[in-house]
Subunit: 134 residues, 2 copies
DNA sequence: CTGGATCCAAACTGATACTG
DNA sequence: CAGTATCAGTTTGGATCCAG
């Protein structure tokens, strides 16, 4: 009935929505694991309107630590979601902005934002009911 | 230029794509923080084709520990993404399936899956280049 | 201003053993 | 079968100090 694990050309695969995925190199898992962090998507959303500087980002996301800000920016830059531009001023200023890949991903995030707003109450209610039952 | 932090009716807000978000109760952050885990979205995708039992899920996702499987199912159930049905057989069997909310979220996940497949190579390439530059 | 380095606490994960 | 309990290892995150 639900034959989700099978073999295709000798490789172990995993069916996601009917699409076979190579278990050992699953694009979805790879992308997810790197974007699913607490700050990653929020960072991309924050940069939606244009490039921002390090200090601006720290101000706009008050509850991120400097360490996490640096790390998140590095991770996203490494995966190609955003670019880092250094301006040789004194003192130096650095701007972070979305790349084409980043903007492409941002497009995916927007429906998610709308969905979250639309369903937040339902989720909060579900949570409250679950906790009450316990 | 980028006036992302402002005040609306005395509340600190955060602009996401032009939409003001209450910082202290941001739906996007709340939903994200609970769905962004390593296994959550994968679990929803795995249940896309219909309800599955505990042992079936463990078999379909071989690299999840029993502990994480239990915990992931609990979390998703608590937030209303999936339902848990116990059948009074001997030995007992339990089925997990998507709720309407879960299916609604699944619809959001599908474009993400397609995007991951389409852009996986670009990301791998960006990573390789970044690492090479270092 | 933009981080890098270090130390420490907390959270997350996995392996194992055990129960109704 | 479907979990719970426990413990150890790993990772994550925050605070602080420092440097180009």
């Amino acid at each position: 009935m639900n034959k989700a694990t099978d073999k295709v050309k000798g490789k172990k695969v995993f069916l996601i929505g009917g699409v076979p995925m190579d278990m050992d190199n699953c694009p979805v898992r790879d992308v997810m694991d790197h974007i699913a962090g607490k700050w990653n998507s929020l960072m991309i959303l924050t940069l939606a309107d244009g490039p921002l500087r390090f200090s601006e980002l720290r101000r706009l996301i008050p509850d991120i630590s400097q360490r996490m800000l640096t790390q998140t920016l590095r991770d996203l830059q490494r995966d190609g979601y955003l670019s880092r531009t250094v301006y040789p001023t004194q003192p130096p200023s650095v701007e972070y902005g979305l790349t084409d890949l980043g903007r492409s991903f941002l497009a995916l995030l927007r429906p998610f934002v709308d969905w979250s707003v639309a369903n937040h109450e339902a989720i909060r209610k579900a949570r409250a009911e679950y906790d009450a039952a316990a």
